[in-house]
């Protein structure tokens, strides 16, 4: 008893975010995710503080830890100074390190996030770039965004003559030396290994689900499918 709890407590966010929950439920009352999903941050913190390995492993394999939007609305409201959002962050990191995230529909989406956002960071130095936001995948962005996307060089050059070129300004191309430093930071701090482990766990699960590995088809499956069993 307590193995997973001890692993969680190695994360400094747990030491900051979980002191002693008295189960008042204020976090759940203000939580945007709790309004939308069948989700209860109070119950998650309550479970973690039992230190019960079976209960925590169930959480690490569950849908529920993936519902939080990390808005941190819970943080200023907790009368005990806990931050359920930090506890969620620690649970999600551990779930991915242990490969448990692939056991839930929402958890499996980490592969898409790793490839789309993580890949873009390592490719461009930005989380988002205009060419990443394809209108076909983002119909909610509307016709003005489609106009921008179709004419990006003209539109952005109005605000920055070095759009996608080296130099200062919005959406500039980040120089090779800076990109090499960023990549090296990801290597030294373990994020490249973390990315690899997301890929490996996803590949295993994809095959289990009948895909030919964690290919693009599987990634799109994780990105688009909603079973409708979350509300």
């Amino acid at each position: 008893m307590g193995k997973y709890y001890d692993m969680l407590m190695e994360d400094v966010r747990m030491r900051e975010g979980m002191k002693a929950c008295m189960n008042c439920g204020v976090c759940t009352a203000v939580c945007p995710a709790a309004e939308f999903y069948n989700y209860d941050p109070r119950q998650i913190v309550s479970t973690v503080q039992t230190k019960d390995d079976d209960a925590i492993e169930t959480l690490l394999r569950s849908e529920t830890i993936w519902y939080c939007g990390e808005c941190m609305s819970c943080r200023p409201r907790c009368p005990r100074g806990n931050t359920p959002g930090y506890v969620i962050q620690a649970l999600r990191t551990l779930s991915q390190k242990l490969g448990f995230f692939v056991e839930s529909e929402k958890g499996r989406q980490q592969l898409a996030l790793k490839r789309i956002i993580g890949g873009n960071i390592l490719r461009t130095g930005y989380c988002l770039t205009p060419r990443l936001i394809n209108p076909d995948m983002h119909q909610e962005q509307g016709p003005v965004w489609k106009w921008i996307y179709d004419n990006d060089k003209d539109v952005y050059s109005r605000f920055n003559p070095t759009y996608m070129q080296e130099g200062p300004g919005a959406m500039r191309r980040i120089d090779d030396k800076s990109m090499a430093e960023l990549t090296r930071i990801f290597e030294v701090t373990g994020c490249m290994d973390f990315f690899d482990s997301i890929e490996e766990s996803s590949d295993r699960k994809a095959r289990e689900l009948g895909f030919d590995g964690a290919n693009d088809e599987y990634m799109m499956y994780t990105y688009t499918v909603n079973s409708g069993n979350h509300n």
């Binding site: 956002i117 995948m137 430093e181």
Partner: protein, 353 residues
């Protein structure tokens, strides 16, 4: 009690010599806002600001999507501080609420757990050979506009006053969760009485409208928007805010966070297309502005030079109320008059007449 609480949450904002840290989302969706910020600080106010091409994303969207490790983002932040040190500056000016939350969180983590700071210093040195000092002053760029709001008022060409009736225009403001909910003392007015945007609206002649869901999240929710299957969460939370503010008939929405601004703009379009519901006057949407855009309009900048044509919801109703002179036909033209097509028409976007 109320007055005392607000007084408690005053923060020092540097007056000059800024190291500018751009935002992924603001650059993407509001590049004219970042251009206007630099222009206002440098040209209008005569302050020094360094726009460093070598800085990268803070990786915050990846961090809050839980694919970038805590250790990694802290080291990326340390590199930004190292670049600031290279530039000989000490005042970080952060253009993004997610980034601002992360910088404050990293500094607080290092204060509370000095061994973590030591480890990050080792990480950065091992990865890049760099060392760093911490900023003397850390401000969100809205804090800086707030700090200079009276100087902007002194140079105002237009005010937030209805040109036809003489009444103050009614603004609703949205400060963004990560501005003050993580570290209330780092936000002007804290989490209970945030004043950073309200202070701008009042200084520039408008009035701030309160509404029940004023502090509710815009609905970004990181993975809840970024993954297509989850977007119902995002639109559902934006809809809750829009439904709550609409009865108070705001003339505009002012946002602190570029993500919030983008969502409150784009989800108005989506809701109109799905349900036929619009929240502004005469079947239109409510214009959504960044604080740089609002400051730029007050200073008399051309709306299309500010990038207001990149919004999905038409801003013309606000421009007309303020009495701003602009060329409606130039909205989707390039500065040299080049025609590159125009967006398809939508309920909240009528395009050029």
């Amino acid at each position: 009690m109320k007055r005392n609480t607000w007084q408690e949450y005053q923060k020092e904002v540097a007056d000059d010599n800024y190291y500018y840290l751009r935002s992924c989302i603001r650059q993407n969706f509001f590049p004219g806002s970042e251009k206007a910020f630099v222009k206002i600080i440098r040209d209008e106010l005569g302050r020094n600001i360094f726009d460093d091409p070598a800085h990268t994303s803070c990786t915050g969207i990846g961090y809050h999507s839980d694919i970038v490790l805590h250790e990694t983002i802290m080291t990326v932040v340390a590199r930004q501080f190292s670049l600031m040190q290279d530039a000989g500056l000490e005042n970080a000016a952060v253009s993004c609420i997610t980034s601002f939350g992360i910088y404050t969180e990293v500094l607080e983590t290092w204060r509370e757990f000095p061994e973590v700071e030591e480890r990050i210093r080792e990480n950065l040195y091992k990865a890049t050979g760099r060392e760093f000092y911490k900023p003397r002053n850390l401000a969100h760029t809205s804090d800086i506009i707030f700090h200079h709001r009276e100087a902007i008022r002194d140079r105002a060409k237009y005010l937030l006053v209805n040109r036809r009736t003489g009444e103050p225009l009614r603004g609703v403001e949205h400060i963004g969760c990560h501005y003050a909910k993580i570290f209330p003392k780092e936000g002007i007015g804290g989490v209970e009485f945030p004043y950073v945007l309200a202070g701008m609206i009042e200084a520039w002649g408008g009035t701030v409208v309160d509404y029940p869901e004023r502090r509710h999240c815009c609905g970004f929710g990181f993975r809840n928007y970024l993954v297509q299957a989850n977007r119902g969460y995002s639109i559902g939370n934006s809809q809750k805010k829009l439904e709550s503010m609409a009865p108070y008939k705001p003339d505009f929405i002012l946002t602190n966070c570029p993500g919030c601004g983008m969502f409150l703009d784009k989800w108005q379009y989506t809701i109109a297309e799905i349900e036929g519901t619009t929240y502004g006057e005469d079947g239109k949407g409510i214009p959504v502005l960044t604080y740089e855009e609002l400051a730029g309009l007050v200073l008399g900048y051309d709306p299309w030079e500010l990038g207001l044509q990149m919004h999905q919801v038409d801003v013309e109703p606000l421009l007309n109320k303020m009495g701003i002179e602009y060329d409606p036909a130039a909205k989707y033209l390039m500065p040299n008059g080049k025609y590159i097509g125009r967006p398809a028409q939508a309920a909240v976007n009528m395009g050029v007449e």
